[in-house]
């Protein structure tokens, strides 16, 4: 996992290496400075030697400036390296998500992709920052300080033999106990967030069922678990710093006692008072380094989960492999399904589409009718190769869809999805998704075809009206018409409407179909609809039932020979016939 993530450092490798280098410099200075201070006190102030004080003072100043320089540079390179690393992670993940096929997207929920791209990257970035700064700093500090202690007095260094194992063992126990609690906390946090999110989205449901208290209690229940676990974990962690303090204090007292004895007994030859002062500083430095190391360890284990989640996205391979074909265009809008079987997952024992055989000529209008769950959407999604067939083949323009370059294919097969989205931006910007350099005239033209012009013209800003995220400020029917216009902008050879006029009133629906017939006669039009009226005048109507073709023909044929179709028709005509 680490190897995979480290690959994303790339152009910031220089900074990622420079940071620890300068950190080492900074550490050396930090170890050196207490030594200089001790000198200044011992031989300058204590001796009343002003010249020495000034001399050491200048040396100290120089060291401080050097240390400042190292510190500042390390801080800046660290910022660059970690921000750059995060940038690359987001970049790589986002790029890979763009390659995801529909089934990849189905596998990860959108919410989870978003979390991985935001929160998880953040966690990993923090851990990375720790590693290149503190993970180098602390061991170095440990080594240098320990060396300094050894040179001053190897005997007194023995103190650490006792103190360090105590500290390490203590920290280890605390982390061991606290870690699982934190893990639980973060999981519970996910639950909390999903409660809030669902509540926000379903606020009308909550209010109309008067479930405000129920929701509040649900929230409080989870909130309470977080509270309890957090208190438990933090109370455990509260042992950290006193443990550390006890170790520091204990070492100080030991060193005071044995150090004083050494100084007095040896007549300040084995150890000087100045050196004793430095020892005190090193005690703090050594033990706090250990403390930091333990923190890093915790941070790392915590961000491990995030790292794994990121790698999952990075390593996810799109299961639709782009054919490296030289076919640069789609011959015409003909479509044929040959013995097609399809299942969403390989393990599923039930096929969503079974033994589908159908030929659609270029320029035909084809209606698809079928009950809820009869795999209508699945059927059309195979045409632009949003999913790959399980068996058999789908041909567009006489060529198997798998032999096209995906972009070539999808540029000619425009599809208006059932669950369609508009993006934040003006109406023009949204329509231009279909054709980047579309002129205003072209945009107006497609909007007229989709019967969207009448309401757009009523907006004060007309085509420059700003659409909120997800198209929140236009009604369902308006959204659908804009989505149709967007698809028309591509001037495709095949146009698929997946129940795309369900929120449009029947009259407008008819007008749109009329426009299709008159304005784009050469385009193959496939229309999934609930309303018979939407498909009635199609050249061919396919009746799907439970993943199988139950009938093909025009309206009149089907009315006379297809039971399902007749039933659907009658269910819609009920009451109407009496009057006509």
């Amino acid at each position: 996992m680490i190897k995979r993530l480290a690959k994303c450092v790339r152009e910031y490798k220089r900074e990622a290496i420079l940071t620890p280098t300068f950190v080492v410099g900074e550490v050396i200075m930090e170890v050196l400075i207490p030594l200089l201070m001790a000198e200044l006190i011992d031989n300058g102030i204590e001796m009343g030697d002003m010249g020495y004080v000034v001399k050491m003072g200048i040396a100290l100043l120089f060291s401080a400036i050097l240390s400042l320089a190292f510190g500042v540079i390390a801080g800046m390179t660290c910022a660059t390296a970690s921000s750059g690393f995060a940038k690359n992670l987001r970049h790589d993940m986002y790029y890979n998500v763009q390659n995801f096929s529909f089934s990849n997207i189905d596998k990860f929920s959108t919410a989870s992709i978003v979390t991985r791209l935001t929160t998880d990257v953040n966690n990993v970035q923090m851990a990375f920052m720790m590693i290149i700064r503190i993970a180098v700093r602390s061991p170095m500090m440990l080594i240098f300080s320990f060396t300094a202690v050894l040179t001053i007095s190897p005997k007194l260094a023995l103190v650490f033999l006792v103190v360090i194992p105590v500290l390490v063992a203590g920290l280890f126990i605390i982390i061991q106990k606290a870690h699982p609690i934190f893990k639980k906390v973060f999981k519970t946090y996910d639950n909390l967030n999903s409660v809030v999110e669902e509540n926000l989205h379903g606020i009308r449901v909550v209010k109309s069922f008067i479930r405000e208290d129920y929701e509040t209690n649900k929230f409080k229940g989870i909130s309470d678990i977080i509270y309890k676990s957090f208190v438990k974990a933090e109370k455990l962690l509260a042992f950290n710093s006193p443990l550390m303090q006890m170790c520091v204090y204990a070492s100080m007292i030991f060193i005071s006692w044995f150090g004083a004895k050494m100084i007095v007994n040896s007549g300040a030859t084995e150890l000087t008072t100045g050196e004793l002062t430095s020892l005190f500083t090193y005690v703090t430095q050594i033990l706090s380094s250990l403390m930091f190391l333990s923190m890093i360890f915790v941070m790392m284990t915590m961000s491990k989960a995030s790292g794994e989640r990121i790698v999952e996205i990075l390593d996810e391979k799109s299961d639709i492999i782009n054919g490296d074909s030289t076919l640069s265009e789609v011959a015409d809008g003909s479509i044929s399904f040959e013995n097609v079987n399809f299942a969403y997952s390989k393990s599923a024992d039930k096929l969503c589409l079974e033994n589908i055989n159908i030929d659609i000529k270029s320029g035909e209008t084809v209606g698809i009718i079928g009950g809820t769950g009869s795999s209508k959407s699945t059927f059309v999604q195979l045409i632009p190769r949003l999913y790959d067939v399980t068996a058999g083949s789908v041909k567009v323009g006489g060529v198997d869809v798998r032999d096209y370059n995906l972009e070539t294919l999808r540029n000619e097969v425009a599809m208006v999805l059932q669950k369609n989205v508009l993006f934040s931006g003006t109406i023009k910007e949204n329509i231009r998704w279909g054709k980047e350099d579309a002129t205003d005239e072209e945009i107006k033209h497609v909007c007229r075809l989709a019967c969207a012009d009448e309401f757009i013209e009523k907006f004060p800003d007309k085509y420059d009206t700003y659409i909120e995220q997800g198209g929140a400020n236009v009604s369902g029917g308006q959204k659908q018409r804009l989505c149709i216009a967007r698809a028309l902008m591509k001037k495709p050879k095949i146009l698929i409407l997946d129940d795309s006029t369900s929120a449009v009133d029947t009259k407008t629906d008819a007008l749109i179909r009329k426009a299709f017939r008159e304005e784009i006669p050469d385009t193959t039009k496939i229309i999934i609809a609930q309303r018979i009226s939407s498909v009635q005048d199609a050249d061919k109507i396919i009746v799907l039932d439970d993943g199988k073709i139950a009938g093909v023909g025009n309206h009149d044929d089907l009315l006379s020979n297809n039971n399902i179709y007749r039933e659907v028709y009658q269910s819609q005509m009920k009451g109407g016939e009496d009057n006509e």
Binding site: G57, A79, K87, S109, V205, V206, T216, K220, S223, E567
Partner: protein, 652 residues
């Protein structure tokens, strides 16, 4: 994360308030005050915490001063001949110090543990309050606030608040104690040298002000870029399938890169400035150290009289200078630690401000006093209240003269000359008047945007009308308690929202005490039973992410079952069956009709077949009712409805 490394060890220190370093970060005083008010339940805790913090800080200061005592008081005298102090004295002193240290460390442990409860308790309280309050907000709030923004109050804002409460607050307190006690120790040693320290503090503040200013400038920019990138990710990933269909990947990548790079630049700068605060402060401390050593040395050698707060005028001894130098380090360190946390504190305060803004949002107004009760008819045909669910309902209407009136719930809804605007000045409903007789099926037909949904939103008071009156069984709906008003109506919306949980739990949402049998019966009524049984775990299949594994039509069926189990006296179906095929719809419809027998139903649909059998059909156009009547009547009138109807079927 709560256990981020913090600088530890004597002298312990930490961040204080942002004002301490004279930062340009503005903090709203009211926010601070309000945050403090949450501590009021923890007065005793806070007193204990304060005592422990003082003990712990004093132990730290003593620890840093002890070295000097050790050298001046014991080692140096013992080195000389005829020492009056011996090792036994030293041992005594060490034991005393040891006791103090233990006290200090234990105090540290106690206050951390108490603070853990306090800070988490406060957070829980804020979190719960925020959510409970959010439930009371009017629909208007949710219309006008981005979901992502509201979500971030629960995630980012609460998280930064947690970091501040758990870390910054105790550290700030202990820093202040340390700074104050060190300051007095310094004055005790030498007033002159203390003055130098104070003068130097101004330089430190200036430097911090500069770096802090830059840092917070880029920090704000960084936060903005983060929001920018996150919302782009959210929008694009949500529309990922559309991106695929339009081969828009490359453009989406390019736009992402642009935003991602901007974030990188701002983050790099913000972090750069943030990262150099530490080194700058530390090394300024060293410089101060050198200045003090030289000035102190000069003072001592030239024998310039020293002013001490406790000893008056004396001469500066070398030992005093040495210990003063140590003190100056202990003085600068907590200040340095404070300054490194300023961004975190500013962020927490900004978060708190946003959280309080949510809590301050005006809740849905509800002055209703008429309630809905279960009714029983006694022998005389009078209505009495019943504890049990009787299947009959009545409005309990207390009058101002103290009398109590029970009005049977019939489902008579009258709109009288109603005007309404979502946004002031943009009226969407004009002079709408309508009457729904109890048990009638009332349908609204009209183009998108004609105001059909708006009318139903007014009946259940998701929004309040601007002008006119709405009466429910003769009672002005403003007098009816909102909860009871809504309890009397079931609503099935076009956009279905399901909750994480099993299918059974989702159906039970309509009536929390419904038995499994009742839920299954409701599902059968909605014709959802068949496909539910096909799901991997049947009714126990867990739905996640708003039931993303289900088709639109299946989700609508579940939502109908959910409303059916609630068994409400009045039902509003807003395009409830739009994604269900007409065959299934016909089956659902017959079930619904059976369920709704004798009750009022409002139906909104595009599909005329859905509304044909309604008692009254209202045809809406641009916020006005232009036609009303039964299907037969409207057809006979050959008006708009007739056009729609014929347009729909295009009969040759």
């Amino acid at each position: 994360m709560s256990n981020q490394p913090r600088r530890q060890g004597p002298p312990s220190g930490g961040p204080g308030g942002p004002k301490m370093v004279g930062k340009p970060v503005s903090v709203n005083k009211n926010t601070v005050k309000r945050l403090l008010s949450y501590f009021s339940n923890y007065k005793l805790h806070m007193i204990l915490v304060f005592v422990f913090i003082i003990t712990s800080a004093v132990a730290s200061v003593m620890a840093s001063l002890f070295l000097q005592t050790l050298i001046d008081g014991y080692v140096t005298p013992m080195l000389g001949a005829n020492s009056s102090v011996g090792f036994s004295d030293l041992a005594m002193a060490l034991v005393k110090m040891g006791c103090l240290y233990v006290c200090g460390a234990l105090s540290g442990l106690f206050y951390s543990r108490i603070m853990a409860s306090v800070s988490q308790g406060i957070l829980k309280k804020i979190r719960d309050k925020m959510f409970a309050h959010m439930q009371t907000l009017p629909i208007k709030y949710f219309d006008s606030h981005n979901f992502g923004d509201t979500m971030s109050h629960y995630t980012n804002d609460t998280d930064s608040l947690r970091q501040m409460l758990a870390q910054s607050v105790p550290q700030a307190m202990s820093s202040i104690v340390t700074i104050v006690s060190v300051f007095f120790s310094m004055l005790r040693q030498s007033v002159w040298l203390t003055l130098i320290v104070i003068a130097f503090l101004f330089i430190i503040f200036k430097a911090m002000g500069f770096i802090g200013g830059k840092s917070s400038k880029y920090f704000v920019k960084q936060q903005k870029s983060v929001a920018d990138v996150n919302s782009y990710i959210e929008e694009m990933v949500n529309g990922q399938k559309v991106v695929k269909v339009f081969c828009y990947e490359d453009k989406s990548k390019a736009e992402f890169d642009r935003r991602n790079n901007e974030l990188f630049n701002n983050m790099r700068k913000a972090n750069s400035y943030g990262n150099i605060v530490g080194p700058v402060m530390n090394n300024l401390g060293y410089i101060l150290y050198v200045i003090l050593a030289i000035v102190g040395g000069l003072l001592a050698i030239k024998s310039i009289p020293n002013l001490s707060l406790t000893a008056g005028i004396n001469t500066l001894t070398l030992g005093t200078i040495a210990s003063f130098l140590t003190l100056s380090r202990s003085f600068v360190q907590p200040i340095s630690q404070v300054s490194q946390q300023i961004n975190a504190i500013a962020m927490a305060m900004a978060g708190a401000e946003r959280i309080f803004a949510l809590i301050d949002e005006a809740p849905e107004a509800d002055d209703g006093y008429v309630t809905l009760v279960n009714a029983k008819y006694d022998a005389d045909g009078n209505i009495t209240e019943s504890e049990e669910r009787t299947g009959q309902w009545a409005w309990k209407h207390p009058h101002s003269d103290g009398t109590l009136e029970y009005i049977p719930l019939k489902g008579n809804v009258v709109l009288d000359d109603v005007d309404f605007a979502y946004v002031e000045g943009k009226t969407v409903l004009h002079n709408v008047s309508l009457y729904a007789e109890p048990g009638q099926k009332v349908a609204f037909v009209g183009a998108t945007g004609a105001g059909k949904t708006t009318i139903t939103n007014l009946i259940n008071r998701f929004y309040d009308i601007a002008d006119g009156k709405i009466r429910y069984d003769g009672i002005n709906i403003n007098k009816i308690k909102k909860a009871d008003l809504r309890r009397s109506m079931g609503i099935v919306l076009q956009d279905v929202n399901l909750f994480t949980g099993t299918v059974m739990e989702n159906i039970r949402y309509g009536k929390l005490d419904a038995t499994d049998e009742e839920c299954i019966a409701a599902a059968k009524l909605a014709n959802a039973d068949g496909f539910i049984r096909m799901l991997p775990q049947g009714y126990n299949t867990v739905l996640e992410g708003d039931g993303s594994g289900l088709s639109q039509g299946q989700r609508q069926l579940i939502s109908i079952a959910r409303a059916a189990v609630a068994d409400p006296p009045v039902m509003i179906l807003d395009e409830a069956t739009s994604s269900i095929d007409t065959r299934t719809e016909a089956i659902v419809q017959s079930g619904m009709d059976a369920l709704m027998k004798g009750r009022t139903v409002f139906v909104i649909a595009h599909r005329l077949s859905t509304v044909q059998n309604s008692d009254v059909i209202m045809v809406l156009e641009q916020g006005r009712i232009i036609e009303r009547g039964s299907h037969e009547k409207l057809i006979a009138e050959k008006g708009k409805y007739y056009q729609l109807y014929t347009g729909a079927f295009e009969l040759e």
